[in-house]
C-alpha cells in the first residue's frame, strides 16, 4: 500500500480525535494567549514595543504553547498500547513520523490562527507589518518545530518524566531556528520586504530539511521498545 495512503489514514485519525476532544488546541491557544497577556502586563499596558521585542514576545508565546500539543500527540498513542498496534501493522515508522509531524504542524497552525491576532491586538498598534508578511516565517518555524518536536516527543514519551524531558531536550535543538525566526520576524514587523529577510529564511529552510531527514531516519529507533 502506498505511503501516502497510510499517512493519510494516520493523519485523519489524529485530527478526528483532536477536533472531537480539542484537548491540545484549546490548551495551546489558551496558554499562548495567557503568555501574551502576561507579557503585555509586564511590559506596561499601552507602552510601545519595538519590532525586536515584539518578535521575541510572539515566538515565546508560540513555542511554549506548542510544546503542550507535542506532548499530547504521543501520550495518546501510549494509552492502551496503541503505538504497539501501529508497529504491529504494515505501517512503517517513517510513515508514522510523517503523519505525526503533519498533525503537530496543523495544530501549531491552528493555534497561531488565534495567537497572531491576539498578539496584534495587544502589541500590534505600534507595529507596521501586515500579518500576511509573517506567513512564510510561521510556516518554516512550524515545519522545523514539528519535525524536531515529533522526534523528541517520541523519545520522551517512553520516559516517566515526559512533560519535563520534552522541553529540556527540545529547546536546545530548536534554538538556532528560534533565533533566526525572531530576527526574521523583527524584520517583518518593521515592514521590511520579504527579499530582505532571505538571510534568515534560507538557513531556516535548511534547518527544516536537515531535521526532517534526521527525524525520518532516527524515528524508528525512538519509537521502538528496544
Amino acid at each position: 500500500m502506498s505511503s501516502l495512503r497510510q499517512v493519510r489514514f494516520l493523519l485523519g485519525k489524529d485530527l478526528r480525535i483532536e477536533l472531537r476532544k480539542k484537548e491540545s488546541l484549546v490548551s495551546m491557544a489558551f496558554f499562548g494567549t495567557l503568555i501574551l497577556v502576561m507579557l503585555n502586563i509586564a511590559n506596561g499596558i499601552g507602552r510601545q514595543v519595538d519590532a525586536e521585542t515584539g518578535a521575541g514576545i510572539l515566538w515565546v508565546a508560540i513555542i511554549f504553547s506548542s510544546v503542550l500539543g507535542l506532548g499530547r500527540v504521543f501520550a495518546r498513542e501510549k494509552e492502551n498500547g496503541c503505538v504497539a498496534a501501529l508497529l504491529l501493522s504494515p505501517v512503517t515508522a517513517g510513515e508514522i513520523y510523517l503523519a505525526k509531524t503533519l498533525v503537530n504542524f496543523t495544530l501549531m497552525l491552528l493555534a497561531e490562527l488565534v495567537l497572531v491576532p491576539v498578539f496584534y491586538v495587544l502589541f500590534g498598534a505600534q507595529l507596521n507589518a501586515a500579518p500576511l508578511t509573517l506567513l512564510p516565517i510561521l510556516l518554516l518555524v512550524n515545519l522545523g518545530f514539528s519535525t524536531t518536536g515529533t522526534l523528541v516527543s517520541a523519545i520522551s514519551a517512553g520516559t516517566r518524566r515526559n512533560e519535563v524531558l520534552l522541553p529540556i531536550l527540545l529547546f536546545p535543538l530548536i534554538l538556532p531556528l528560534t533565533a533566526l525566526a525572531v530576527k526574521a520576524t523583527s524584520g517583518a514587523l518593521a515592514a521590511k520586504p520579504l527579499t530582505a529577510l532571505l538571510d534568515q529564511l534560507e538557513p531556516m529552510a535548511a534547518f527544516c530539511v536537515v531535521f526532517t531527514a534526521a527525524g525520518y531516519l532516527l524515528f524508528p529507533f525512538a519509537i521502538r521498545e528496544d
Binding site: F9, K13, R16, I17, R76, E79, N80, L88, P90
Partner: protein, 257 residues
C-alpha cells in the same frame, strides 16, 4: 534437575520442534534475547505448520511475552531468526506484519474513537478492501454491532475486550498471537474469544497462545509447550498427553523454578 513427563520422550536433547516434514509456516531458530546482562530467551527453536494451535505455558518471567513480542516484531532479538512462510522478519517486516494479529495485555484501541471508527482505522491501515463492511462483520461476530457508534472509552471492560478481539482479527491474520487473552475476561467475552479461536483454527489459521489458564489453553490447542527461564523445556502434540498428566508436569516445572 529438570523434570520429565510420563509418556513423553524428554531427554537431554531439545524438544522436537516440528511435527511435520513439510516446510514450516513459522520457523524460529536460535532465538535469544537479553536485557542488559539478563537472558530472557536462551535459544528457542520452534517450527509451526499452518493451522497449528500452540499453547505456551510457563511461570512469570519465563520469557513467554518476550517470545511473542519478538514474533510480533515489537522487539528485536539479540540473536536468531524468525521466518513466516518466505518472509524474513528482518528483511520484509511490512509483508510479515500484514499476516499478523495480536491480542495483548493492552487493548490497542483508541478511547476517543467510536467502536466502528477504531476497526475502520485499523482495517484501512491493513489495506482491507472494504473496511466498513469488514468492521461491521467483525462487530456482529463479537456482539458489538449495537454499540458501533459508542466511544471506546464508554464501553464496559468486557465489551472493550471483545473490541480488542475484533481489532486483532481485522486483517484476517494467518498468524494470531495471544498473550494471556483470557485475563480479566468475563464469561461472555471468554466464550466469544473461544468461538473465534475455534473458527480461526478450523480455517487453518496458525495460533500461538501464552496463558496461565491450563483449562482454557488445553481446550483448543493442538500442541503444548512449557517455557521456563527462557528455554522451551517441553513441546509436544496435545494428543501425546492427557490433561491431568500435563497439569502434573506443569506444576512440577513450576516447583523447580
Amino acid at each position: 534437575m529438570r523434570l520429565r513427563p510420563k509418556n513423553t520422550c524428554r531427554t537431554k536433547r531439545k524438544p522436537k520442534t516440528s511435527v511435520s516434514d513439510q516446510p514450516p509456516f513459522l520457523s524460529i531458530s536460535g532465538l535469544r534475547k537479553s536485557y542488559g546482562g539478563r537472558e530472557a530467551l536462551r535459544g528457542i527453536d520452534l517450527d509451526l505448520q499452518r493451522g497449528e494451535f500452540l499453547c505456551l505455558f510457563g511461570p512469570n518471567g519465563a520469557g513467554k511475552s518476550t517470545l511473542l513480542k519478538i514474533v510480533a516484531t515489537l522487539l528485536r532479538p539479540s540473536a536468531g531468526q524468525v521466518n513466516l512462510l518466505d518472509y524474513d522478519l528482518q528483511e520484509h517486516p511490512e509483508q510479515y506484519r500484514a499476516q499478523l494479529g495480536m491480542v495483548s495485555h493492552q487493548s490497542f484501541v483508541y478511547q476517543d474513537l467510536s467502536v466502528l471508527e477504531n476497526l475502520e482505522f485499523y482495517a484501512a491501515l491493513y489495506g482491507v478492501k472494504q473496511p466498513r463492511e469488514r468492521s461491521l462483520e467483525l462487530l456482529e461476530q463479537v456482539n458489538l454491532l449495537d454499540c458501533c457508534d459508542m466511544l471506546a472509552a464508554n464501553l464496559s471492560r468486557g465489551m472493550q475486550q471483545r473490541l480488542t478481539i475484533a481489532r486483532a482479527l481485522v486483517n484476517d491474520p494467518t498468524l494470531l498471537l495471544l498473550d494471556e487473552p483470557y485475563t480479566g475476561l468475563d464469561e461472555h467475552a471468554a466464550s466469544v474469544l473461544r468461538d473465534q479461536l475455534q473458527l480461526l483454527h478450523s480455517r487453518k489459521r496458525t495460533i500461538i497462545m501464552v496463558t496461565h489458564n491450563l483449562r482454557r489453553g488445553m481446550e483448543s490447542a493442538t500442541r503444548l509447550g512449557i517455557l521456563t527461564r527462557g528455554e522451551l523445556v517441553y513441546l509436544e502434540p496435545k494428543k501425546n498427553i492427557d490433561q491431568a498428566g500435563f497439569e502434573k508436569l506443569y506444576f512440577q516445572h513450576l516447583e523447580t523454578v
